[in-house]
Point group: C2
Chain length 284, copies 2
């Protein structure tokens, strides 16, 4: 790729555009023009070039899915930078879509850039367990700098569903921080008995054993704690890194620590940019 190029991290509901020059981001903007808002992708790419510069363009995320511009088929794990670069979908000779990665039972599309970038930038070693918290939390096992395998847990989505609908919604409007109630939830999550532990939030209200102001933090701890306990039960002793902003990062750090492991928080934004540089440099 040239010394200057554009990158679009193009998700379902949002996107972020970067202009990169000599390895550094010189301009970036985020908007809500995710792939579901777009019908004319060619016109949209032209509009991006009109605003950010008439440069080569690397696209990642749902733009390469069947609800995106063109389908960039999943690359099977283990997948590294060179494998992704060799499998880019070429829309034209200066517009490339990064493929997602698949195992026999799981898929990712967009997260792979950040994971490989974390290694490429030296933010994490080549053998590590990387966590990308969120609506659909990814846990990726990196081996020799490649994505060897991964598991996705819909932890964040379950919390959002419970907070918006159903029996517990009214109780779950409080603030979530890594406080004592959160850690109590993490401890309960170790039992990996989610449907029963969730009803316990209701029972605690009826029995008066927990202040409702603590219910949201407890529920978050329960969900994140279940996720952490399940993943660590099958994890090696490779070091653990969390790619996240500080809010979710602190919650996952607390939950991992409570499960007897250490975890370091990594700048996910820097990892993403490093991933685009690494893939861009490896284009055959």
């Amino acid at each position: 790729m040239d010394d200057a190029f554009l990158v679009v991290d193009w998700g379902t509901t949002n996107r972020r555009v970067y202009r990169i020059e000599n390895g550094a981001v010189v301009r970036t903007e985020r908007d809500d023009r995710g792939v579901t808002a777009i019908t004319d992708f060619a016109g949209e790419a032209a509009a991006i070039r009109a605003r950010f510069g008439d440069l080569p363009m690397l696209l990642a995320g749902m733009v390469g899915s069947n609800i995106g511009w063109q389908v960039a088929p999943y690359v099977p794990a283990p997948a590294g930078v060179s494998g992704l670069a060799a499998s880019l979908l070429r829309v034209d000779d200066r517009t490339f879509i990064v493929p997602g990665v698949a195992t026999a039972s799981d898929v990712m599309r967009g997260e792979e850039v950040q994971l490989l970038g974390a290694v490429a930038a030296g933010l994490v070693p080549g053998d590590a367990l990387l966590v990308q918290p969120g609506t659909h939390c990814k846990w990726a096992t990196m081996a020799d700098g490649r994505i060897a395998g991964f598991t996705t847990a819909m932890t964040g989505e379950l919390f959002a569903l419970l907070r918006a609908h159903g029996l517990l919604a009214a109780q779950l409007q409080g603030e979530v921080t890594a406080n004592a109630a959160f850690l109590e939830g993490v401890e309960a999550g170790r039992r990996r008995d989610l449907a029963a532990s969730l009803f316990g939030i209701r029972a605690a209200k009826m029995l008066g054993t927990r202040d409702d102001a603590d219910a949201a933090a407890y529920a978050s701890g329960l969900l994140i704690g279940s996720d952490v306990a399940a993943r660590l039960a099958e994890a090696s002793d490779a070091p653990i890194f969390i790619l996240s902003g500080p809010e979710l990062g602190n919650l996952y750090t607390a939950a991992i620590t409570a499960n007897g492991r250490a975890a370091s928080l990594i700048d996910s934004h820097a990892a993403f940019v490093a991933g685009t540089l690494a893939i861009g440099a490896a284009i055959p």
Copy 2:
């Protein structure tokens, strides 16, 4: 209680009224006048007597909660027929509300009548594990004919939430029966890794590894299977009975069988009526 009396199984959104004479139901009606639809409970009780007969009345369910007529405080487990009868809330000298039952961490209100009735009617032995599937599935350990302890899992509610909202909703509109996809879900549920297994339903769609027509049955199997696996992990070898209609009863029977135990389906309606007779006969 007299040879003839009325019973109201009065839940949050529905209720069922029974007229019982000499131990048998002679008339019953179900309607949608649950406690949330009622403000004048005394007037409503008078209207029931006007229709069903001017008789003593035993009320069970949410009518005894803080959203009902009057609060009948929980009786602590272990709780049996005589304990409940001694703790009835007397609205007046011929109108009685059955209290719920609580452990240190869980509550029930309404289910206790069915559980104790199953034993009283000889449908189950005094030492047994009883399952009441539904939105909030109750698993009660009966010992010496009393409710010794119980756990509630919001299995049915989670399924309803996932079917109505969020990433998986569109995939989960298919029929649910105890078919091969359901049993595949039960098997996955044994891992007790719900948030990750649920995302696997999405991944299977993206990978083309499962027909979407099977997704609802798989998801139901996963949720019920997780619930069953968690409960059986801590259960004794007492026999298991399911108090349910045939639809959910068949699903739970299949899931329990797949986890290496046997379960018998019991007529929950008969159990409820037997419970009211037993409590009515024990009123001091």
